[in-house]
Every structure is written in C-alpha cells, then in structure tokens.
Symmetry: C2
Subunit: 408 residues, 2 copies
Amino acid sequence: MEIIDGGITAPLGFQAAGVHCGIKREKPDLALIYIEKPAAVSMVFTQNKVRAANIEVLAEWRPTRLSAFVVNSGNANALTGERGIEDAKRMASITAAELGLDQRMVGMASTGIIGHFLPMDKIERGIKSAAGALSRGREADKRAASAIMTTDTVTKEAACRVTLRDGTRVTIGGMAKGSGMISPAMKSLHATTLSFITTDANLEEGFDRQFGEVIDSSFNMVNVDGDQSTNDMSVLMANGMAGGEPANDDSTFWEAVRWVAQELAKQVARDGEGATKLIEVFVTGAADVEDARSVARAIVHSNLVKAAIFGADPNYGRVLAAIGSSGAKIDLNKMALSMGPNGSRVPLFSRGKPLIAIGEEGKEALRSIMGEKTVKIMVDLGLGEASATAWGCDLSYDYVKINAEYTT
Amino acid sequence: MEIIDGGITAPLGFQAAGVHCGIKREKPDLALIYIEKPAAVSMVFTQNKVRAANIEVLAEWRPTRLSAFVVNSGNANALTGERGIEDAKRMASITAAELGLDQRMVGMASTGIIGHFLPMDKIERGIKSAAGALSRGREADKRAASAIMTTDTVTKEAACRVTLRDGTRVTIGGMAKGSGMISPAMKSLHATTLSFITTDANLEEGFDRQFGEVIDSSFNMVNVDGDQSTNDMSVLMANGMAGGEPANDDSTFWEAVRWVAQELAKQVARDGEGATKLIEVFVTGAADVEDARSVARAIVHSNLVKAAIFGADPNYGRVLAAIGSSGAKIDLNKMALSMGPNGSRVPLFSRGKPLIAIGEEGKEALRSIMGEKTVKIMVDLGLGEASATAWGCDLSYDYVKINAEYTT
C-alpha cells in the first residue's frame, strides 16, 4: 500500500468544490462532490433516534448509486420537521438540476447547529457557484474538506494506492469533519462524524457488510465527548473507473479502505474540540472483539482520564476504573497496563498489583509520557486473542469554552 | 413527613465522630459511626468490575447486622491487591477492638486516590481517636460528614421524621459524599458515591429489594461526569430503637427513606466537581420506567448539554440529541420539551417542531433560565405513564482544572 498526498479527488473521476454561501459569516460552508460515472455506494447513519432531515431522506431513498453529494456546514437541518425534510430534498433537486442528473442520484448532508431552518436561498446560490467550480487536485480537495468543517481547526484528508488481487491499481481518497458531539456507536453499521471515502475501484452493489466492518474499527472507535450526533454519516463511493474485477471480496482493498478510514478517524480525534493531545488506546488479550472494543472505548470516553491527560497528571487508576466500568469480562490478576511511546513503555499495573504506585521516579516518567502530543495506552486483558484500537483526545478548558459559547 | 435539621445521628442510638488522622494534609479524613444496638443493614455496591478492597471484603462478608462503620477519605484502597484486602479487614478489626465488638459487626469504606496503599499506622491512630470522640448531635454529624469528603466543597446531610402505619414515630438521617467520578448505574442494586442512611425504625433483616428501589430513584439518577467509581456504596442501617412493628412493607417509611436519599443525591449533584449549577431533569410520558430513566440520565450525562448550561447558551438542540441517543422509545411527533422554573416554563419543542428556534426573544428568555442556579428541564415523551427524575451539574473550567491537577 502506498500512502499518497491526496483527498477526495485522488481516485479517477471524482471532482470537488468548496464555496462560501453565507450560512457562516466568512468561512467556506458548502461542498460538492461530482462523480463522472455513477458510483456504487454504501452509507451508514447515526443510531441517534433524533435524526437530521437529510438522514431521514437518505434512509428512505436508500440509494445504491450516486453521481453527486452536496454538503453544507453551519446548520444541521435537524429538528426542523417537515420543512427540514423538504429542504433536504431541495438540496438534492437543485444540485441535480445544476448538473443534469436525476434527483435520486444526489446525496445530501448537513452539519452545524440543531433546530434552525436552512437558508435555502443561500444554499441554492452556493450549489450553483460550487457546480461551476468543480475540479480535481489538491486545491479542490482542500476547498471541499474546508467547506464541511464546523468547529474543526484543520481539514481531515487521507489517500492511498493499492494493487488488487487481479493486478488492478486503485486509489482510495477521503475527507472527514468532526470535532465535537463525537462518540462511539453502540451498534454496528453506525457512523460518527461526516466522512466521505471515494475510490475508482470496481465494486458491485451490496458492500454494506464490508463497509460496516471498516466503520466499526475506525469512526466507531473515536470519542471526543461521548455525545452522539443527530447527523453522523459515512459514505463510500466507488465509480469503477480503474477497471478490473469487482473488488467486493478483495481483502487488500478493504484493508486500504480501513487505513483511509482509520487515518481520518485519528485526525478527527486529534482535532477534537479543545484537544491538545491525541489518545490512542490499544487493547489486546480480550475474550472477544466486543470486549476489546468496549474496554478501548471506555478509556477514551472517560472524562477523568481525558482531564488527567490534559494536565499530564499520572493518575492512572482512572484508566483502570474506566476498564472496570466497561462491562467487558476482566480478571485483575491477569491484566496488564502500560503507557508510553513504542519502545519506551512504562508498566503501570500487572497481575493485580500497581507497579509504580508511590515511587516519585515512576510518577515522573509517567508525567513525561503524558506530556507528549500523542499518549498511548496499552491494555492486555490476558484472557484471549481479540484486540481493538480506539482514539480520543484530552478534555481541556477550551472544550468547555467552545461548548459554553457555541451559539452566542 | 417532617423535615428536620439533622444528619447521621438524628435517629435514636447512633453516634458519630470525624477526626484528622493524617492521610490528608489538614482536613478531617476518618469518620466513625457507632450504633448502640446492632442494626439490620442493606448495602449496595458499585457494578464496576475493578472494585476497591473494602467492597471485596463486604461483598464476601455480606453482613446483615452491623454495630459500627468506619470510613477514611484521601485514599480509596483500590487496586491494592492482597495487601489492600488485609488493610480493609484491619480497619474493621482495629475498630472492633476499640469498641469491644466482633470484627464482622464493623463495616468499612474508603474514598480518595486509586492505587496507593493505606497508611495503616495513621488509620489506627485515627480510629482510636475517633472512638474516644463519639457523640450525638449536629456537631458530631458535621464532623463525620466532613471526614468522608474528597473534592466535595460542602457536607451532604438530610434528615426527616415520619409516623408509620402502626403509629410509631421514626427518624431517618443520612450523609453522603461525592463530587467527581459520579455516574448512574447500568444495573439496579448499584450505588454511586458513598452514602450512609441511619434510622431508628424497626426493620426485619432482608430489605435489599426496597432499599435497591430507593437507590435506583436517587443516587443511581445522579451524574457528574459519567465516570463510574471503584468505591461506590450505599448503606441503610436500622437499629429498631424507636420500637413498633417491622416497617419492611410500610410505604410511608420507604417514601421517607427515598426523600432522604434523593435529598442527598441532589446535594451531590449540586456540589459536582467545578459545578456552578444544579440540573434537574423531569421525564414524563415514557412507555416504561426504564425508558424514562434512560432519557433523564442521557440528558444529565451529556457533556454538551452540561457545557451549554455552564455558559447559559440556549443551544437546546443538544438536549434533543441526548434524548435521541438514550436508546429509549421516542416519537418526535409526540414529544414536548420545555425549560424553566416552575410556573414560568419556556416551551422549546413540541410535536416535531422547534418553537423558538430563531426568535431573539425566545433565546433571551432561555438564556435567562439557563443563568439560574437550578436549571430545570422537562421532557414529555407523550407515549405512556412512566416518569423519572435525574440530577446533574454543569461542566465548567473548574471541572477540568480539578481533574487535571488531582494528584499533583
């Protein structure tokens, strides 16, 4: 697998644009993706029962092929009743008219404040202007990735190339947004944040299971604040323009998609609202994968762990308390916990006993590890072969500030 | 029911003391309760699988009668292995020797930092000094209630008197501690925080079900930060000194116990780490009580709701998002949401539609309600007859500060 500098238009046949239409004061707030040949798609949505209007529409339409995707930021079009549903459909119909497509070939997404109607006049002007600005390359990628941001401070992009079983060289690209209201799903086939993954690989319709598995080990393992959004969605769009046999069962292909999704997920965690650090949790030795995921998610979900990491406070007992509350099968006498960058781990707890509980030296080593930009936590449950990884960020003053002043 | 100014020694036959033994630098850190006649007890423990040593011991002993309870703060005696178990037992045996009791008639609890061994020499001196200081009355109540505090800023106490079915007048008193690492339970018969409820009512052994129901509608409905502690426990001790028939099935009695427990739970929420406001959530119209509780807990659990209330930011869409993620059965077209003190509610959402979404006047009214010291949120799910109440607090800069600097 070759990692490349790219985004949403890295694969053949994808064009993108990002423009300012006036929902936000100054920043880009409308993104458009156009696909030169209709792409086979799989989508996953939030499990929140309060769902945004676009999710209701897409869940009803259940498109298997798409030619375009339109996204606005600054307004979630959630809790907007019938009028919101109509507005979401109009986003699709305006885009379709502009690009000469059928309305049902256009997906739509929104993100931003809940409970306000979309300013459809601005959206309409924005779509027209974006349709005229569609192009390929890093500039276009970045403009689209910027236009879907809300409290994000940086764009999230990733891309790679891989050679499939039949020798076809395919490209996968992606962009995501997400900074707050980000929490792991409780059910599979559920996405957190907005993410768009594009590929020129050839996929036959019907790859929800494979894409669901990718999401379960990427976006569903990210936690910024434990709040599940009304608007979460992830979509994979494959236009087949690289040719070759259908890659539906090619594990090399899905590993590459997983890499892009995990890369984007990690970028979302690192840019969590107010975040100063990325937390990576590696759980091994679990009885089964559900337990491994529960433990990993419980740690990145804990406010106390997040606040301790913000302050580089070596209070690792909180990590163990989070493990204990995860619901997973554990045996303290078999469990081991360590922290630190690869190669210089500090063992903290092993087989029922704290290892550095009181020593000042241990505390200092731990404090220094917790001062790094990326804090790694390794848990070996000692019970089986299953593993999982989760990503989160620390809880800082700025998280509170951002969310105490969001609408004002 | 008569509300009285009292605490743990309000009922007949309970004595208490609180002393400084040196686990903390200056503040009281060891509390002792002595019961003149052995009391019938019911206890509930944390469901966290990483449990403190005292919880392991009490879960093994399963005492049905107790004559004393000893509690230290400043050190949780959690994740301390075999030595921790021995230390917890020694807390009981030292107390027993001092008071002329059998070891098994003494309960013990700890709260504070995880992963450090108890300084048993200090604990021993503290128990001896507390045994010599036992007394009744408000002074003794307050000293005991202070000695179990960790990051708490105020003591939590409540007491009331009630006349039972058979004409017996009984008193119920209680104290609690808890400020951080406070989250609702996922299972019944599970307590959050430390709480001690005393009564001179006559109870026959075997009232776990009734006490469990009290806890499920009081401490289990409190959320400060979503973190479940390793040390949570609640205990009800009834010494029968008021005489009368057994009150096991007297609903008046259990209503009074519930009042004390809810009063303490509310005090815990109001004194949550860094809290500037108490959040009370009232859910009605749920299909069943589990759904009502899930919705109420999801709202007080949401970091985004908590931060919005801290900043008096009228972003009530976050409340609806929390309701949607609770897992409870909901129908947006039947649901209503309002906020505000009794008598001056601001309706926010009704039957699928936001009511004040954009109007500046509505926003201002909401901002003013969110600026109150107690913020009330009313949700009517419109689906059935079940209801629930939950308590939480806002998420402030000080929560982060307290937890980023806890051990340092």
